[in-house]
Symmetry: C2
Subunit: 266 residues, 2 copies
């Protein structure tokens, strides 16, 4: 079960490859098309892991878990309910989460499974959807929670969830991942805050890909964030959030304190 | 006042240039960086105009005109209210608008002004915002209106407005455009349906760029759709919608009839 990562060398060059213990085995080509080992390998300690893919969009679901829907008193939807997080929101493992300019309100974590699309996909059936899924990653669907309902006439989903560094994904993309038996575990400063089974999803990954592909074309590297379940909460400045999934790895991001901090500096 | 277009030759090669009567004057380089005339020019009749830029995201405003807000009984917002239309929604002049798969409901037109970003832009002031605006284009913010409120718990802005071909922009990008004195005129099959002054905007283009750049980084080629005003309505299958702005041009798109039609085939 290879796990794919992207990374940057100290000289700024970026590449991708598979994890092998404490090493990364470099590959050449296109992650989603033809690729082969380059013959090189590097110590993980010598490279900076990046977001494992560069989505043109992140499609982020709301109300996709029975347990959270029951708690909120919401009926299971008939079609995935989603917003778009733009490509500018992308952050990778270890990147700092940054407050939007001038925003002093609460910032929430949401640990989620991410589906990584492998092939361009439009109007595909549930049965064939698995052929368009490259693999799975961890997502922290960061949210400026106090912006959401700031205006009484319009729930600001895209603004509250679309800021730079609010689309944290990684550390790796796992293929042949058995989501039915996996759990999302979220820890804030080592305290467990979420631990829920992916089997509680309302729409399976294959249903999400099929139904969303009827709404819009999905491209290789696009990510569907499957929605979160019980236990979401806010992050104090300086706290570190970990989203851990057995078989994928642990995505760790710290909410920057004080002034502007460049992504990757944490 | 040059007007910039992108276009495709019959052999599939794409390029960009300025309009000069019935000709396009080809340029080489990068529209948003260094560019110069290539020395070639082509008859407009011999090329297919494309969307004049390729946004990574379209930020689409809601409730940005006093007249429409008054009609709907909505207060002017304190910050631009927006959703994201993904890059996959892009369509250019003459492209067919296509129904989402399986959707038989109403499709609405919304004639709007589009701001085209020229330089990467994050947290800029209103005073400096003009330096990040490359120019202006016409937008048809197409909407599958019956999807919007299909679910009682979640207004589906991104789904209803995010389908392929629902982000129509063009035909050109005008620089040095005097938006204060311009009007948006929308015609459906030659019948005027919208005719409103841009001076009625709640947030000026400079305010939009400044305030949205506090929420997220804007990239060269990104488009802000400034929101619409009075007169929006639905489009019958086969009808042609024109969004016309003096100084920019006329963006024309037809709602395809029947089965799937490739973009550009209309």
């Amino acid at each position: 079960m290879p796990r794919w990562v992207r990374y940057r060398h100290a000289d700024g060059r970026t590449s991708f490859g598979t994890l092998d213990g404490e090493r990364v085995v470099e590959h050449a080509g296109d992650l989603f098309a033809s690729r082969e080992p380059s013959g090189m390998a590097f110590a993980l300690a010598d490279v900076k892991l990046l977001a494992p893919c560069t989505p043109s969009k992140i499609v982020a679901l709301w109300n996709n878990f029975h347990a959270l829907g029951a708690k909120l008193g919401k009926k299971a939807p008939a079609h995935p309910l989603f917003l778009i997080k733009p490509s500018s929101s992308l952050a990778g493992p270890g990147d700092a989460i940054r407050r939007p300019s001038g925003y002093a309100g609460r910032i929430a974590f949401e640990g989620e499974l991410g589906i990584v699309i492998g092939r361009e996909c439009r109007d595909v059936s549930v049965d064939e959807a698995h052929r368009f899924i490259f693999g799975y990653t961890c997502v922290n669907d960061v949210t400026a929670i106090d912006l959401m309902n700031e205006n009484a006439d319009f729930v600001q989903w895209c603004r509250a969830k679309g800021s730079d560094t609010f689309g944290c994904i990684g550390p790796a993309i796992a293929r042949m991942f058995d989501w039915q038996s996996a759990r999302i575990v979220t820890r804030v400063d080592d305290v467990e805050r979420q631990n829920y089974p992916l089997s509680d999803m309302i729409f399976s990954p294959e249903e999400q890909v099929s139904l969303i592909s009827r709404d819009m074309t999905l491209f290789p590297g696009d990510v569907i964030a499957c929605g979160t379940s019980l236990g979401v909460g806010s992050i104090k400045d300086g706290a570190t959030v970990e989203i851990a999934v057995d078989g994928i790895g642990t995505l760790s991001n710290r909410l920057a304190t004080g002034a502007f901090v460049e992504a990757g500096a944490a």
